[in-house]
Amino acid sequence: MRLALKDIRYHSFKFFTSVLGVGLLLMVVLAIGGIIRGVILDSSTIITETGADLWVVEKDKLGPFVEISRIPEDYYHAVEVIPGVAEASPLVMAWEHVARMPRPTPLMRFLYMNTLLTTKTMVEPGWMAMPKDQQFVLIGYKPGRIGGPPVIVAGRGIEADNYELVADERAGFQLGERVRLGYHDYTVVGLTKNMVAFTADPVLYTTLKEAQDVLIQPDPDLLRDRRRRYKQQTLPKEKARVPILVEPLAQRAASVAEDTHVVNAVAVKLEPGASAEEVAREIRRWKRLDVYPAPRQVNLQLMGSNRLILFQLSLFRALLVVIAGIVIGLVIYTFTLDKVKEIALLKVLGAQGRRVYGMIVQQALLMGVLGTIIGGVLEQASEPYFPRRVETTYGDIGQMLVAMIVVAVLASIMALRRAMKVDAPSVLGA
């Protein structure tokens, strides 16, 4: 006869509401851990997924995301011939906006309303208006080289300059959707996942050349105007139609538009066993380049603007863990103390100490374990609905489980020591 289970059967409402309460509290603790991991992953994913060992940027610039870096595209050829370099990939990476906001889901609308209410007294009217455009990070890469989307979860990748995009799932685009970037419409041909900048802005991938067009190509009207003025300045006033003269001029005019061969960074993959330090030293010999190992790039993003939010979140997580431990300990403690009379009765009937301990500790463990499972399941199930990436692992839940087992055992033993002290006969009216 399992006394613990019989008691739970009898007090099922109380037991399961307690378990649910414990579960919800643990869900929050797990979620805040998942939020922290989300910030870390968002800050590092582009760097880590690119798989580059070194990042080459403009001299005295910190990196493609931290500061604007511009280097001539063709430098990558020179980098690639350095001994130890397996591959050098020129990349364009920059924030772009699209005049589009996906239709907000009911959840998003709820989150928006909730934020409005919360910040009502903190903001000027208008500050909290729903944005009308969406922010992205546009990455241009040479198909076949590193720096492109690491996985395609729907559709296909990009093979050539064809005004095509691969978008991160979180951007909310459908396959086949057309997106205006710069002076062209691009078609979304594939979706990738978990590729966002450290700002959580989703990534749009296109080819290097098209990204350069989007970012650097001037307004066609401006271009036309410039060409006209250029011609006017140089053509002879007497309108002498001399074809020989016009030809080179037209070429020079056209070249105004074509000076887009600039990239933000070159991602470098080393050959196995090659020394990153030596390759970096070689690259730094160019007066116009700087180079950082990948971990340093991650560090710049993680410990940049995200540093303080990470500090705050971690502090809250620590507090929350302590609070949850105390609250859950108290729930188990009082749940046990409620059984003082039954414990006294078992004592008087001569029940062995281990039987009484067994019943109490089993219940406490069951409460802790079920609570952790419920918390874990709820947290995992809710992860996709968070507006930013939230990611817990089974390791996190396992850690939580161990912590809960410790809390449950401690709380129940403390309660039991209290319960065992009561004067059994007086509790029983004997």
């Binding site: 006869m1 006394l3 019989k6 008691d7 059967r9 009898y10 007090h11 009379k341 039954e342 009765l345 078992l346 004592k347 008087v348 009937l349 001569g350 029940a351 062995q352 100490g353 039987r355 059994a424 006969p425 029983l428 009216g429 004997a430």
Partner: protein
């Protein structure tokens, strides 16, 4: 003559100094197997204290106690818990059944405590519940039973492991006269048929008619001792 209970000069002192209370001041008592024994006396006279000592719930400050041939405090530290679950059955004023166990499970409990499990324990419990006339309530929780039924289940629980000694502290106090009497008659029958020594603390003089002996306590001493009725042994 083998006694079920043999107590000599039991003394119990609670507390010390200003809170010192001498609850028993030297009580002698013998109970034979099959006897139904009543302990009476005003409130505070030490009835419950005596019962707790006889039931091995607390230890006497002084005195000798022999239960079922075992000289409890003579030599070594006695395993009171084990002796209690083997030799003694308790019936309390309020039935004090475990609320989360059914009537039958409540009776099975003391059997499991002495290592009788499964079918054997269940059959024994049903047999006792049947004997006490509450077999059809076996699968109900205590809260679904009446006061009288609860007390019968409590008696069944006290008898389950066939203790030589059953101790009852005002078992009829929460019952009306008729049910109280019927519970007393039941105890009478158990003592007769099973040879159990039963010691009942009671206030209620109407219950006296059923018992073999009465002792009256006053201020921690036996003030009166007497046979009530000579009854034919069953």
């Amino acid at each position: 003559m083998e006694y079920a209970i043999q107590a000599e000069h039991l003394v119990k002192v609670y507390g010390a100094g200003r809170t010192r209370v001498e609850a028993l001041k030297g009580v002698d008592l013998v109970v034979r197997p099959g006897e139904l024994f009543a302990v009476m006396g005003p409130s505070g006279s030490g009835k419950s204290t005596l019962l707790r000592i006889l039931g091995l719930v607390i230890e006497p400050t002084e005195g000798r106690l022999v239960l079922d041939g075992d000289d409890i405090y003579n030599g070594g530290r006695p395993d009171l818990q084990r002796l209690r679950r083997e030799k003694v059955g308790f019936i309390f004023q309020l039935a004090n059944l475990i609320p989360f166990l059914t009537a039958r499970e409540n009776v099975v409990l003391p059997l499991e405590l002495i290592g009788v499990h499964g079918r054997r324990a269940r059959d024994r419990a049903m047999e006792l519940l049947d004997y006490l006339g509450v077999a059809e309530r076996a699968d109900h929780l205590p809260e679904a039973l009446s006061g009288g039924e609860n007390q019968r289940v409590a008696i069944a629980r006290a008898l389950a492991h066939e203790p030589k000694i059953v101790l009852a502290d005002e078992p009829t106090a929460s019952l009306d006269t008729e049910r109280g009497l019927s519970a007393m008659r039941l105890l009478r029958r158990v003592a007769n048929e099973r040879g159990t020594a039963i010691l009942v603390v009671t206030h209620d003089t109407r219950m006296i008619g059923e018992v073999d002996h009465v002792i009256r306590l006053g201020d921690g001493r036996v003030v009166e001792k007497g046979d009530v009725l000579e009854r034919p042994r069953a």
